[in-house]
Symmetry: C2
Subunit: 417 residues, 2 copies
C-alpha cells in the first residue's frame, strides 16, 4: 500500500454510508431508494484527490501519514447539488417583505422585484463583484456539505450579460475546491426589450448567445423555464434542439406552477433532467417512468413560497427515482443548505431518510453525469466526503433539522478548513 505525503487516512469511522466497493452504483429508483449500503467500523485511505482503499478497523493500515480520526462519526459522500442560481448581483429580502405585506406579484415587479429586475441589477454589476459574491456563497454551501454543484446563467438575458455570468462560473470553477457544471439559461424570462418579440429573443438565443457560449466552451447544459408566463413547450423544444446541435443536453425548469407539456417535450428532446415538478400529473409521472429523464425536486422553493411541494411520495411509490437540489437563488429559494433540503424532503414530502440521501448524492451525481466520479464512496472516486458528529442512525439527519451535525468536510482527499 503506497503512502505518499499526499495521502490521508480517515479512521474510526462508525459507518460509511453509500459504500460502493465496486464503484458500480448508479441511478436509484423506486424501492431501491429505501436501502443504502453501508460498512461499519471502518477506515478510508485517500491518495491525492481520490479514494484509494476502504476497509474495517480490524485491519487498519499503519505507517506515517496524515490521519483524520473520525471519533465514531459517520462518513457520507458530499452532496451533489445539481440545480442552483448561485451567481447573482443582490439578495432580494425586500421582495420577501413586500410579499409578507400582501403585495401582488405585479406590485412587487413594479417596485423592483422578479427575475427581470435581478437581470437589470446584474447587467450593472461587474464580473469581479459577481465573482466575489458567488465565492462567498460557494464557501457557505461547501460548509453545509456540498461537494459538487451546478450553476446557471439566466440573470443576464442579453448576449453580453449571459456571457458575463458564464465567465464568472468558469472563473469559480477554475479556482474552486469543488467541481462545477455550468448551464446556459438565457431562456429564464423574456427581457423587456423583447416584450413584443418572443420570436426575436429566441432567435437571439439560438443564433447568437448559444453559438458564442459553445464557441467559448462556457456551458455544459442548456436550460429553459417552461411555464405559462415564461416559455411554451414548443419554444423550449426549439432551444433544446439548438443546444443539441452544440452538444449541450437539456436540464429544464418545468411544472413549477402548471403542467403544460414541458415534461413531454423534455422527454422528446432527450433532456437529462426535468427540474421543479411541484405540479406533476399522473400522466407526467407515467411518461417519466417510460423515459430516461431524471426528475429533480427543489423543496426549498415551495417552503419559502409557502406553496405545495412536489408529489415525491407518489413519484417514488410509482417507481421513479428523484434528485434533491437546493435551487439556491435570490428570489424563491435564498438558501443552498442541503441538510435542510433533506430535512424538508423528509418532514414535508414524507421521503424516507435513505431516499433523501440517495436523492442528494448518487442521484444528484447522475443528474450531472458525474456518477463515475461522485455520489458514492468507492475506490477511484473523488474523495469528497463529509464527516458527521456521532449519530444514532441515518434518520437522525433529517430529524435534527435545526442542528449542525456536519463535523468536517473532506474535499479532494484533504480536510477543508
Amino acid at each position: 500500500m503506497t503512502m505518499s505525503s499526499s495521502s490521508l487516512l480517515i479512521k474510526n469511522i462508525h459507518r460509511i454510508w453509500q459504500y460502493d466497493p465496486h464503484a458500480s452504483l448508479g441511478w436509484q429508483a423506486g424501492e431501491e431508494m429505501k436501502q443504502i449500503n453501508h460498512l461499519e467500523n471502518a477506515w478510508i485511505l485517500c491518495e491525492s484527490d481520490r479514494i484509494q482503499e476502504i476497509g474495517t478497523m480490524d485491519a487498519c493500515p499503519e505507517g506515517h501519514h496524515p490521519i483524520l480520526d473520525a471519533k465514531g462519526g459517520d462518513i457520507l459522500p458530499s452532496w451533489v447539488d445539481s440545480h442552483t442560481h448561485l451567481v447573482f448581483a443582490r439578495t432580494r429580502e425586500d421582495e420577501f417583505r413586500y410579499r409578507l405585506e400582501g403585495m401582488s406579484y405585479e406590485e412587487i415587479a413594479n417596485k423592483g422585484g422578479g427575475i427581470l429586475n435581478s437581470a437589470y441589477r446584474l447587467r450593472e454589476t461587474s464580473e469581479e463583484e459577481l465573482l466575489e459574491g458567488a465565492r462567498k456563497r460557494l464557501d457557505e454551501v461547501i460548509r453545509k456539505g456540498t461537494g459538487a454543484i451546478e450553476i446557471k446563467s439566466g440573470y443576464g438575458l442579453t448576449l453580453e450579460s449571459e456571457i458575463k455570468m458564464l465567465r464568472v462560473i468558469r472563473r469559480l470553477r477554475d479556482e474552486s475546491t469543488i467541481p462545477i457544471r455550468a448551464t446556459l439559461l438565457a431562456a429564464h424570462a423574456l427581457p423587456k426589450e423583447f416584450k413584443e418579440d418572443r420570436v426575436g429573443y429566441i432567435r437571439l438565443i439560438v443564433d447568437e448567445i448559444l453559438p458564442r457560449v459553445a464557441d467559448e466552451g462556457l456551458a455544459d447544459y442548456i436550460d429553459t423555464f417552461c411555464e405559462k408566463v415564461f416559455f411554451q413547450p414548443e419554444e423550449m423544444a426549439q432551444i433544446l434542439e439548438a443546444g443539441a446541435r452544440y452538444g449541450l443536453k437539456g436540464k429544464v425548469h418545468t411544472n413549477q406552477f402548471y403542467s403544460i407539456g414541458g415534461i413531454q417535450t423534455a422527454i422528446a428532446q432527450g433532456a437529462l433532467s426535468v427540474d421543479h415538478m411541484e405540479v406533476a400529473t399522473d400522466q407526467d409521472i407515467e411518461d417519466l417512468l417510460e423515459s430516461n429523464v431524471y426528475p429533480v425536486l427543489l423543496p426549498s422553493a415551495p417552503f419559502f413560497l409557502r406553496d405545495h411541494y412536489p408529489p415525491a411520495r407518489q413519484m417514488i411509490d410509482a417507481g421513479l427515482g428523484v434528485v434533491l437540489a437546493s435551487d439556491y437563488n435570490p428570489g424563491t429559494s435564498p438558501s443552498g443548505n442541503m441538510p435542510l433540503v433533506i430535512a424538508l424532503a423528509c418532514t414535508q414530502m414524507r421521503m424516507l431518510p435513505e431516499e433523501a440521501i440517495h436523492a442528494a448524492t448518487i442521484n444528484g451525481a447522475c443528474a450531472l453525469e458525474w456518477e463515475n466520479e461522485l455520489g458514492s464512496i468507492a475506490p477511484g472516486k473523488r474523495a469528497n466526503l463529509l464527516l458527521t458528529q456521532p449519530i444514532p442512525s441515518l434518520a437522525y439527519l433529517p430529524y435534527a433539522f435545526g442542528s449542525d451535525w456536519i463535523e468536517k468536510r473532506i474535499l479532494n482527499g484533504k480536510e477543508f478548513i
Copy 2:
C-alpha cells in the same frame, strides 16, 4: 466613564435593534409589533455583565479596554426562548422514521415512542448522564443566539424522576452562562401506573411532587398539558390552584390539537402564558384580548409534524401580542434553533420580520418575567447580545433561512467562544 478590566466596548455597529435608551420597553402587541426602534452607526459599552452605555460612533469612547469590532454587523438582543424540554434521555429519530413509514400513533407507542416512553427511558438515566446531554444541547442553542431559556420537567412522571429532572435544570442553571427558568410539568401525561386512576396522579402532583419541589425551590413555574388525551381544563385548574399556593404561576400547554377550554381556564387561573395555540378559535382570541395572559407560539412543532401552524397573523391583526419559542423536545420539535423559528414564523405564518424579532426577544422576556433584565438593548440590562454578519436589512434574517448569519455571541458582557 469608568473602564475597568471587566469592560468591553463593541464598536462599529451598523444598527442596534431593540434600542431601548430608557429601559422602558414592555410587552409588544398588535400594531406595535410592526416597528422596532434602532440606533445606527453605534457602540455599546458593557461593564461587568451589564450594558453600561450606548452611543453613536461620532463620539466613541477612547482608552484602553477590550474592544470588539462589529465591522458593520448589526447587534440584536439574544433570543429569550421561553418554552423548551431541553432535558431528556434520548433523541427519538426512530419514531420519526416510523411516522414517515406510515405507522399510527398507537403502533409507535407500542414500539417505544411517545412521552410515556421518554419517561421510562429518563427514569433509567442517571442525573449525570442527563446533565451531560442537556449541557451539549444548551451549548448548541447558545451558538444559535439564545441568551436566556426556560426548561421544563415532564419526562419523569414520578416524584423521584421529576425531582431528578429539576435538579438537572438547577445544576445547569448554576453552571450555565445564560439565565434559566425551571418549570414543573409533572402533568405532561398520565403515567401507566395511574392509567385507571387520574385522580390519584393529580393527588400525587398536588400533595407530594409540588410541595417537595417548592420546598427545594426547584421550579419557577407550573405547567399542565391541557389536551383531549392528556389533562382536562378542570384538572389543569386544580394543578394551577395548587401551584399558586406555592407562588408558582402557570405556563400551560394548551390548544395544540383541540380547543377544549384550556385558554379560558388559564385566564381564570391567572396564568402567565398559554403555549402552542395551533388551534385557536375566534372566541379564544377574543378572550385573550381581554386578559393579561401571553400567547406563546411554537412553529417548529407543526413544521416537524407537518401540521397546521398557529393563526399568528389573525392573532396579531386582532391586536394580540405573541411570543416565539422553540419547544425543543425529542418527540415533536427536535430543534432549539431560534433563527429557524423566526424564519418559520415569517415564511409559514406570515409574520413580519419586526414582529418575529419582538416575539423572540422582548415578548419572550415578558413570558419569563425578565422584561427588566433581558429582551432589549438598554443601559442596566444584562449584556446578552448577538452580532450578525453585515446584513442589508432586518428582513434578511428570516429571508436567509438556511444561512448562519450570527457572527458572534456576547453573554454577560463577554464574547462567548
